[in-house]
Amino acid sequence: MTTALRTEGLSKSWGGFVANSQISLSLPKGARHALIGPNGAGKSTFINLLTGVLAPSSGEVFLMGERVTHLAPHERVKRGMARTFQINTLFPGLTVLESVVLAICERSGAARIWHRTVAGRRAEIDEAWDLLARLHLDRDADRPTRSLPYGRQRLVEIALALAARPKLLLLDEPAAGIPTGESSEIFDVIAGLPDDVTILFIEHDMDLVFRFARRITVLVGGKPLTEGTPDEIAADPRVREVYLGELPHV
């Protein structure tokens, strides 16, 4: 079994408005797959269908071969699906360390424990420090998340997703809202993830997309326009039309 994520005719509409239409996608294990498209193309909606935040109007989602279409979001996480949000969705009043320890406790099952203190959870705390060090967040560990600059909050976004030790990682514009110079720091972190983690990411910066993706799906008006390798996508005249020369020349 090598397919990490598969969707079949996944669709979502609100009233008459079709945000996602018949999206069928298949990602092999270890994929580095980009989902691109203009604003309002339905990319975030697609992520929300995958994670179960939204219920599809029709279609199916399979994770590691298992049909998960009717599972609640938290049950999909337990099966190895983690995500980041386009707009920071963090715990403003918790410190960075508390947030990450919390996320790790959720994964390890310790979060149900009510008769022992957090400070006593050695394994989770050590793991949290390792994760923070990997993301260069360790010096901010004791700061409340809300006091961090936006760019560093984006790293916390990723830290929380990685705490779940995902098999499938869904990144919704991980570098959104931070200056181009700093965005490569975030992608360096992502590039350093183990090969067997499957990654689907949304990104507007074409340089980052073409540097990092091994396959690309272009979504326009809720429909997949085309899918292919970066070279194929860059050469596709329909894609060039949508992007008006933003694509790198090949």
């Binding site: 995500r83 360390l97 149900r112 004791d142």
Partner: protein
């Protein structure tokens, strides 16, 4: 200021923490529950009060019981973020359960207390399923409605509850078979203090546990919690039922120590006053609940003595002042002040 670990507000955001990665330092700022000197001092107060004010032990018991009740609300509101305007439903359930036992031949107090807590937890389970689904406003209305429902049910079932006349004629056996519930309220006071202290320790451990941290996470951002794999609704149901059990224990204490249960134990007024106590003391810090209950009942007692007609006016004024000038209640204001002073000294 009696917070067992530093509040986010007390940590200066500009401060760049440079930390050695020694094992001790690594957990320094995580929820632990090392007992502090300040806490010892705090708990000495009710003990000293017992000896200093032997004439006020009945009021003292009421403060301790209200403190336990406020602690219960703090768990669901201060930590898990569930606002409730009907928490008296569980207080009253505990009170009637313990009261009915005592008036029907079961006189032993500790088992009666346990029965009160269990009864409240039992009725809270179906209620919680309704409450956890909603958002703030929905929860406010649902809890309000549930509170009214319970009140009217007890009113209608006058054959069992005594209706507006209340439930009386209880007999409570000596505590541990040794200590009679005396006229001066000595046993009642120490019994209430003991129960409050033990249940406080339980709450204190709970809020510093991974479970407690996950509740704070849900309050901060329930959407993110779900995407971390947390079964948000189940967690909220758990804490709601635990809190209801505490409220039921508080109600049972009141029934046993006063040997009377009135319909007011289920009233909206009681739910609303509870909310005031907690906001007054400060939410999400446990000690705020205790201090708020003490302040509210003392203020009520003193103001009612000074100005029997308009005392609620002064109480209202005090409340507005606290909300306007000391956000986070008395303890929140104190923490802010302490942070300022520390900042200036540096």
């Amino acid at each position: 200021m009696l917070r067992p670990f530093p509040t986010p507000a007390a940590v200066s955001p500009e401060e760049d923490v440079i930390r050695p990665a020694g094992p001790c330092e690594r957990i320094a700022r995580l929820p632990a529950d090392r007992w502090t000197l300040r806490e010892t001092a705090f708990w000495l107060m009710p003990v000293l009060g017992y000896f200093a004010f032997p004439g006020y032990l009945m009021l003292g018991s009421q403060i301790l019981i209200a403190g336990l009740f406020a602690l219960s609300l703090d768990l669901i509101m201060g930590y898990a973020g569930i606002v409730s305007l009907g928490h008296a439903a569980f207080f009253g359930t505990g009170a009637y359960a313990a009261g009915l036992l005592a008036s029907h031949g079961w006189h032993e107090p500790l088992s009666g207390l346990l029965a009160g807590a269990a009864a409240a937890a039992l009725v809270a389970l179906p209620v919680s399923l309704l409450v956890v689904r909603g958002q703030d406003l929905g929860r406010l209305i649902v809890t309000l409605g549930i509170g009214m429902l319970f009140f009217e049910a007890a009113n209608k079932a006058a054959a069992i509850t005594g209706g507006v006349d209340g439930l009386s004629g209880m007999e409570i056996a000596p505590l541990f078979g040794l200590f009679d519930f005396d006229l001066f309220g000595r046993t009642a006071y120490l019994y209430s203090l003991g129960v409050l202290f033990l249940l406080f320790l339980l709450c204190r451990r709970l809020v510093h546990s991974p479970f407690g941290l996950s509740l704070r996470g849900i309050k901060e951002n329930s959407k993110r919690m779900a995407s971390l794999g947390a079964p948000v609704e189940r967690r909220l149901v758990s804490v709601f039922v635990i809190a209801a059990a505490l409220a039921g224990a508080a109600g049972a204490l009141l029934a046993q120590t006063t040997r009377f249960v009135g319909l007011d134990s289920l009233s909206f007024q009681r739910s609303a006053e509870l909310l005031i106590m907690l906001v007054l003391g400060g939410t999400g810090r446990l000690y705020g609940a205790l201090i708020g209950a003490a302040l509210f009942l003392l203020a009520q007692d003193i103001l009612a003595g000074l100005d029997p007609v308009y005392w609620q006016f002064w109480l209202g004024l005090m409340l507005v002042a606290v909300v306007l000038y000391a956000r986070g209640g008395v303890l929140g204001g104190a923490a802010l002040l302490a942070g300022r002073i520390r900042g200036k000294r540096r």
